[in-house]
């Protein structure tokens, strides 16, 4: 956390070498997030790239208060929403398999992934941010712009639904 804060400060001080470090630090997480939220690998790569472009464009306006991870995920989330909006007009099917999304398919995990995919959108997003992206509940609340209590209740409800479906 301290290292990330220092990296952000160095970029503010015009040390451009740290911009590379910042992007390298978050690229994998953001790319994985984009894979979950876009129809295919190519689009996910574009979405990840667009996320970092937007981050760089508005970096001067960003005020660091220890929430950069939530901030960059929020940018990625908006980029993915924009992509879906565009794709909807091209009438692409949203229900694509994980293999098409660019993930390695593991048979044992497939059922769980299917169950997550069948969750209502709001619940699915919380589950993905919590378990696929390993974000804290507080960070999820920041990204989704909802109270922490709502995140907790949605997560609990999603887990209950998954348990029920397993049984």
């Amino acid at each position: 956390m301290i290292y990330k804060g220092r990296v952000l400060q160095k970029i503010k001080d015009e040390d451009m070498a740290y911009m590379d470090k910042l992007i390298t630090l978050y690229y994998l997480d953001i790319f994985r997030y984009c894979l979950w939220h876009t129809p295919n690998r190519q689009t996910a790569e574009d979405a990840a790239q667009e996320t970092f472009l937007k981050m760089a464009r508005y970096f001067k306006k960003y005020v660091h208060n220890g929430k950069f991870r939530a901030y960059i995920y929020k940018v990625a989330s908006n980029v993915c929403i924009d992509i879906w909006r565009k794709k909807k007009t091209e009438s692409l099917t949203e229900d694509l398999s994980y293999r098409e999304q660019g993930f390695e398919k593991v048979e044992a995990d497939l059922d769980l992934k299917d169950l997550v995919q069948k969750l209502p959108e709001k619940h699915r997003e919380i589950v993905l941010l919590r378990f696929a992206q390993d974000l804290s509940l507080r960070e999820i609340a920041e990204i989704e712009n909802i109270p922490l209590r709502t995140v907790q209740s949605r997560l609990r409800s999603a887990l209950k639904q998954i348990e029920k479906n397993i049984k």
Binding site: I23, R32, A48, Q49, A56, V127, F131, R156
Partner: protein
Amino acid sequence: MNKKLCLDLKKALNVPVVYHGEQLEKAISLANSEYEKHRSRERIGYVEFLFQQIPFMGRRIWIFQGSILILMWLLLTTIFQEDFKYIAARHLPDLLCLFAIFITMTGLPFLCRSYRYKMQEVETASFMSMSGLLSARLIVIGLGDGIFLLAVSLVTFSKVSISTALVIFYLLLPFLVSCCGCIFILRSSRSRYNVFACEFFCLLILSLQFLFHTSVPQAYHRAALTGWVVLSVFFAAVLAFQIYKLIVKFNRICVC
């Protein structure tokens, strides 16, 4: 929460992802150039912009006003010498009116030019709104005017024994009236001859003042001070309204 389920979900969803190095390189290079592009277009605040206007145009106006102030000071010291003191004291309202009108006239060419040409290049470069630009110019000109009027008042106090309030209102009222008229002319049309119309209006006010002082000298006595105060307050309010309308109209013109 079911801990086993949580662990299973994490194992199933937090899968390792392989990404292409060249994609990361591309994202880095594009982000760097995007950052560079937007860094040079950083916005500045209004106060910072106002300070930047001082070397840009404030300096020229203030040098102009300062040189007129020096000339006026030389004139004052000459006419307040013993030989002219009696005449000067009798014609003090005319003299102060002359200074007030002159100070209005000094700022007019700068203001008219800004208003006429809309200062669009500056707006594009600085990202300031048109109203911001015009108000910055009005502040710079107004600051110079204020210092000028204060200096004239101080010189008058030091040379002639006259009521402070009278000196202030002898200066303030013609200044306010001339400003109101000039801004009204500016608002009414965008003609290239606006500056001449404004200067002519100022000279007209000056002539009217001489005429009024000659025909109604009792209006310049201490007993008429209330009238001066009322008129000054009225014209100050009119001026504030005129400036507001000028800025609003300026924005509207630029939107079109």
